[in-house]
Assembly symmetry: C2
Homo-oligomer: 505 residues x 2
């Protein structure tokens, strides 16, 4: 066979797998948003059947042969996209085939069982019941790392699954720098006499009004409702099966509209990335989104860099006041801006503000690192957790439920995922800085609700690039620099010194 | 291998296919109810990928070997359910494997193309453009019949696909009898001086009230919302992926609430059949629903035998009047009952009442029969259609759009489907008659809104029987008789002589 033929054969196989995965994503969305509660056992069986088919296709030896044939004959006939598809397919094939079936099954079984154990342990504030799950995962994930990336440190192999190319060698010094800067900032803010008034954010906000507002702003940002939808689920997420079918969810509380509004903005950031993927390339790896951190950079770009900024708050304030006149009668745009940017150490990561959030992440990163390096023991985690919380945020959780047991990640074996959140925050800030340089009118545009140039810039620079470059290279191509925490630190210092009227060294 | 092993192997394969088919059903529902419009091309590709997998599994030679092994050794080790699963699997395997791939592809291609041609031809009232599609289908479906059931008459083989065991030899005399009885009835009714007042059924009916009413009645009938849902789509249908996940749809018009209410009742009838299937047997053929006609008998049982009956109308009338007081201020329960049972010949099948409906079906049956027997020519269909409409219903469509082009069935090659609608109506009536005999309190129960004994009877006698018996045998087991049109004719005569105050001979 010629290279072209091998390549066509490869693409056909990859597209089939991608489409079956798309179906899996639709089932996942349906399960969270639409499925009747009594169908959960049925759905598990359906998902298992489809997962079996996908696994069979992804590990098909004929796919392996096809990849070998292409690997041996890299030629000028193949362009950048083709080479990317081959490279990505090779990586996926290795990930799928290098791990013994026994280990795959044991991990799947532990994920499923671990979830239930964690739910109960969290409810009952009983870490001891959950500890064996973590221990077992560490053992299996260590073994897994040796099969997948024998040359990597164990924790690096786990990080690489979510944030390809990223290692402790890069992350640790950046996180150390963040600690050095953020801990004193938080201390200063916390001990400052004047705290912004946030009382007006609590009240009664009719759900249909919240929904209309969230949809309006999502549409303004550029979410394409002809290729997507917004629904309600217990936990907000961005799902869907393809750039033409992107589905985000949120949840509405009558007592607080900011939470759901900003979660819609966050998920719309993810959604714009998905809708902007270069699917004209076909349903192939090159058209897919990059790492978890880069995805998070897109949601945080819109949520924090734009929607928590002054121009955005000032632009939408009159709209918000018109919708909820009772709550905002005697509030100014500036007060609203300050209220949604309040910095306050709290126990729960997902509710944290943009200054304290990185410390929640760093704490988890240090624990995971210590566990994989055997410098920490699982049984000591509650104590270590609470000590680090005290050291970083000055507060101590009253229970493990509000401490070490709060996140679901470890119950499913997702070690190495947490750093992506803060890497995303730094990417977002670095991207925003480049945008301001390249489009000096950006803040004026935001102040007018004109997001089209921003979306176009993200589409061109990031979304349409698919997987052609590594995250590292993409950041460099977009910003002209490697990842640096400087922009993030400067941004936080400028913004919060102004909000709190303090000076940070 | 032992028989038990072969059988376990078979079940595993059948359950995988059933679960993948369940996923396909979820995708179908999603496409009609949830999918963003821009995702249609994506969805087609996903469906094609999954259909390819299902076809591969359903025609797997290893499945064939497994079936052969079981066929050769029918033994006492296997019970009724096991033998049913083997029999059904054998039939499906033959249906899937007997037809040459070329013919499968040509039929699929023509179905997809035919749909588009029909839509345009109907819009433009241009039968000539659609005629070649019918001609080609007749040729392919004749060829198909020879592969699938070489011993059957061609049209019988097509009928058998939807209504297994039913042939022209059974249908023709029954339909002749219906013609003899119904045509004069319609004539008498149409020329009767007094027609029921239906004007109050038109008005303004708020959608949220309609929805609440429809859901209430569906729940009263026994629809289990923990294993199902009701949504909105362009055309009402009953879908979903499993007895634990049954999804019905309707559409609401503000000008008329009866249409959507009775469509919800109709689809709930289908849904109760699906929810009542014996899925504790596993995801195997024995647990599936029987023929199209039997399914239709369940929807018509609730829609016509129950919900268009006097006890039902009288029971819900006060509820309806309380919800829509403006429309029903000066209307009585009896007037409402008469209005929803008006008999009036019209051009469109799907809007027909229960007396004229069978004639729409018989007309189509006679045309299909004539086409397969070569006694009718496709080019003559518009003329034949209009002549038969005049003869059976006394009216002539002003255009082919309202005549021969009105139904989508032929555009997808579904020849032999139409008889099921009227077979279903007759089964429904025959079942209802048996129920009245076995549970003499039935009408009193309906008058109190107590449907539990009725649902329990249907569950026991029909739904829980899955595919253990043929439709013919099931009808016999339930009613003690073979299918007969007598109950249906007597029912119509009694009911409409009372409504119109006339005597039918």
């Amino acid at each position: 066979m010629t290279i072209k033929k091998h390549y066509q054969n490869l693409v056909q196989r990859l597209e089939e797998i991608a489409r079956l995965n798309g179906i899996m994503d639709t089932l996942g969305w349906d399960q969270e948003v639409m499925m009747p509660i009594g169908a959960s056992e049925t759905r598990s069986k359906q998902i298992a059947a489809l997962a079996g088919v996908i696994h069979e296709r992804a590990t098909d030896p004929v796919l392996g042969d096809c990849l070998s044939a292409l690997k041996d004959e890299i030629s000028d006939e193949l362009g950048e996209i083709e080479r990317c598809n081959i490279r990505e397919a090779q990586r996926s094939y290795e990930l799928e085939t290098r791990i013994p079936k026994r280990l795959v099954q044991e991990l799947a079984e532990l994920s499923s069982r671990g979830q239930g154990i964690w739910v109960t342990a969290r409810q009952e504030n009983n870490f001891a019941d959950f500890a064996p799950v973590i221990k077992r995962f560490l053992k299996l994930k260590t073994e897994w790392a040796q099969y997948v990336s024998p040359d990597f440190l164990r924790y690096d192999a786990n990080i690489d699954l979510f944030e390809r190319g990223m290692t402790m060698a890069t992350i640790t010094p950046i996180f150390e720098r963040l600690k050095d800067e953020l801990i004193p900032m938080i201390h200063i803010i916390q001990h400052h006499a004047h705290q912004p008034d946030t009382s007006f954010l609590q009240g009664h906000f009719a759900l249909n009004k919240q929904e209309a507002l969230a949809k309006k702003i999502s549409r303004d940002m550029g979410f394409n409702f002809e290729q997507g939808r917004i629904d309600v689920s217990v936990h907000p997420f961005c799902g869907g099966s393809h750039p033409t079918d992107v589905r985000i969810t949120t949840r509405y509380k009558t007592s607080n509209f900011v939470e759901s509004l900003y979660s819609v903005i966050h998920e719309t950031g993810h959604a714009l990335y998905e809708q902007g993927r270069p699917y004209e390339m076909g349903d192939v790896p090159a058209s897919e989104s990059l790492t978890m951190g880069l995805h998070e950079s897109q949601s945080l770009f819109w949520e924090r860099m734009i929607a928590q900024g002054k121009p955005f708050c000032f632009h939408y304030f009159e709209t918000i006041r018109a919708i909820f006149p009772d709550s905002f009668r005697s509030v100014s745009a500036d007060l609203f801006y300050r209220a949604i940017n309040v910095c306050k150490p709290d126990f729960i990561r997902v509710e944290a503000d943009e200054i304290t959030y990185p410390l929640h992440i760093i704490l988890r990163y240090e624990i995971e690192k210590g566990l994989f390096e055997n410098s920490l023991q699982v049984d000591d985690l509650p104590q270590i957790w609470n000590e680090l919380m005290k050291e970083y945020l000055g507060i101590q959780p009253p229970s493990d439920t509000l401490g070490v047991l709060q996140d679901s990640h470890w119950s499913g074996g997702a070690f190495g995922y947490f750093p992506s959140y803060t890497l995303g925050a730094m990417y977002a800030c670095q991207f925003y800085n480049t945008l301001l340089r390249e489009q000096p009118n950006t803040e004026k545009n935001i102040a007018k609700g004109n997001f089209a140039p921003i979306k176009a810039w993200l589409n061109e620079k990031i979304h349409s690039q698919g997987r052609l470059y590594s995250t590292e290279e993409l950041v460099w191509r977009v910003t002209g620099e490697m990842l640096t925490p400087n922009y993030f630190i400067d941004y936080l210092k400028n913004k919060y010194s102004q909000i709190y009227g303090v000076k940070f060294s």
